[in-house]
């Protein structure tokens, strides 16, 4: 659990920048690869497009089993992302943060597990979509 840096979404982390080459003055033949190594990969850049509108959360339960979200998965939620047909969203439902699939056409929230029926949201003023789950991360360490 401490493999990743304790990153706040508002601060594109520098922690995962692993310079492949430390540039030094060297005598002798210059490496032809030097010209191509100019930056390192930052996982935050890939996972968090809008740091100021993003939060992280833990998933609990298995109602989204069939789309590959399970208990203990890390969810990356972007509040500013566009809500589309089929978006995986976090909704504030009956005062709780709940993960569902958004069915805009039929105004329903769906699960991805036969044990959980759809929820009608037509005319539900109290329901608020908090954001769109852009990525989920599962640890496979044992």
């Amino acid at each position: 659990m401490t493999r990743l840096r304790l990153a706040r979404p508002d601060e594109p982390a520098r922690a995962l920048q692993l310079p492949l080459y430390a540039h030094r003055v060297r005598a002798g033949f210059p490496s032809p690869a030097d010209d191509f190594i100019d930056r390192s990969l930052d996982l935050n850049e890939f996972l968090v497009r809008r740091p100021s509108a993003t939060f992280f959360a833990w998933a609990e339960g298995d109602s989204l089993r069939d789309i590959g979200i399970g208990p203990g998965d890390l969810l990356i939620v972007d509040r500013a992302a566009e809500r589309r047909q089929g978006s995986v969203v976090v909704a504030a439902l009956d005062g709780e943060l709940t993960c569902k699939i958004l069915d805009l056409r039929r105004q329903r929230l769906l699960s991805a597990n036969d044990a959980f029926p759809p929820i009608d949201i037509a005319g539900r003023e109290d329901l608020l979509i908090e954001g769109v789950v852009t990525h989920s991360i599962r640890s496979h360490l044992r």
Partner: protein
């Protein structure tokens, strides 16, 4: 034009972000040590919960009314404030963070429908951060502050634009003079004596006359009230010239060891602030005193110079402890102590001296590492032995919310069942 964006009941709103069950409900936040009420949601205000009251006095009533009560979680508030700032930076090129919950935007050079822009700021901050805000827009910062007040208290829809003299004059006639930015209690008394009671009267007063009786600052304020900008945007907060960390103890103590532990902790906290603004301090002020409400009040203090300008927690804490040893008197039960870092200079302009020792690069690296570890793993992950191991738990924070944004184990939980 300037916009002032002000978060509504900022701390209470932060507590509601990851708790949708608390939105639209009375929520209050308590100060350090759970002593005082420092923030109230609109619903708590509507219930008549008073501001800045000792919590224990009304705890029973709050429980009966179903008010949600939190200890101040400044890490969370700081993170959310950062998200608000970042969102605003996407909307205007120049933004000043005036306080944790107030930001000025400089709109010059932007051609805008101001009403629509203000509404857009509100919508974006609600949608993307879940922070409700008020927005005031006007040609000067002082008028923007008043516009914000009007947006919340008079118009009540959270947006007010004072882009024409007739609009701000309308407002100036309706607010007392101490509503004006920079007019505190002392200036209000002085202005009252001059027959100036409303913001309108101040705006109409003769600037030269007022300046003679008060200060240049108030003259500038008059010009600002008339739509003439005198205060520019300060994108970089000015570095502090002094840094103080002082606390009352949870329990009075006469033991030197306790005092040394406390002062070490405050010294380390102050040094961390000093490094955050990239400063070096040259002298310290250390004090301690017994309770002001008991007979035989004892106050002790020492000022001392450091051997060289420093931001090293170890050096500062060592000298603070030495000062505390000389302040301590057997038999005195101490109530409070504190440290001030004085004579602070910007280390970028600091000139090293070839012939006297200074803070070396290794010390700098060690301090940087210390700060990084404590930022990453939470405050107090790495502490100095001299800080003591029990003292840091003395702050009462019984009602602290999770660190939703800064600890992996405390992220919000999302139901999938």
């Amino acid at each position: 034009m300037y916009a002032l964006v002000d978060c509504n009941a900022c701390y209470a709103s932060c507590e509601q972000i990851f708790r949708p069950d608390l939105r639209g409900k009375p929520v209050i936040v308590l100060s350090n040590n759970d002593g005082c009420i420092i923030a109230r949601s609109a619903e708590a205000k509507a219930l008549g919960v008073p501001d800045l009251q000792p919590y224990f006095r009304i705890a029973g009533r709050l429980r009966r009314d179903g008010v949600a009560v939190f200890s101040a979680n400044f890490r969370l508030y700081g993170d959310i404030s950062g998200q608000v700032m970042a969102t605003l930076r996407g909307l205007a090129p120049r933004v000043e963070q005036y306080s944790i919950d107030e930001m000025f935007l400089d709109l010059s050079g932007m051609t805008l429908d101001l009403e629509a822009f203000a509404a857009d700021i509100r919508d974006r901050l609600w949608r993307e951060v879940r922070m409700p805000v008020g927005v005031g827009i006007a040609p000067t910062k002082t008028l923007a502050k008043l516009a914000n007040h009007a947006a919340k208290k008079i118009k009540r829809d959270g947006v007010a634009v004072l882009d024409r003299p007739d609009k701000w004059r309308w407002l100036l006639r309706r607010v007392p003079v101490d509503r004006v930015w920079g007019i505190g209690r002392r200036l209000k008394r002085r202005l009252d004596a001059l027959g100036i009671h409303s913001a309108w009267q101040l705006a109409e007063a003769d600037p030269a006359f007022i300046r003679r009786h008060t200060s240049l600052q108030v003259e500038r304020c008059i010009r600002e009230l008339n739509g003439e900008p005198c205060f520019a945007l300060e994108e970089q907060p000015p570095a502090k010239k002094e840094i103080f960390v002082t606390r009352s103890f949870a329990e009075k103590t006469g033991r030197l060891d306790d005092l040394l532990g406390h002062i070490s902790r405050y010294a380390v906290a102050a040094a961390e602030k000093l490094r955050a603004q990239d400063g070096l301090c040259q002298s310290l002020y250390v004090f301690a005193h017994s309770s002001e409400f008991e007979p035989g009040l004892y106050r002790g203090s020492r000022s001392l110079a450091l051997p060289w300008p420093s931001s090293d927690s170890r050096l500062i804490a060592r000298h603070a402890r030495a000062a505390m040893r000389r302040i301590h008197r057997p038999g005195v039960r101490f109530m409070k102590c504190g440290i001030g870092l004085l004579d602070i200079r910007d280390r970028r302009f600091h000139q090293g001296d070839l012939f006297t020792p200074g803070q070396n690069a290794e010390d700098d690296r060690l301090m940087e590492l210390l700060d990084r570890i404590n930022r990453r793993f939470g405050r107090d992950s790495l502490v100095f032995g001299s800080e003591g191991l029990n003292g840091k738990w003395t702050m009462r924070q019984n009602l602290l919310s999770p660190n939703y944004t800064s600890r992996w184990a405390e992220l919000p939980r999302v139901r999938c069942h």
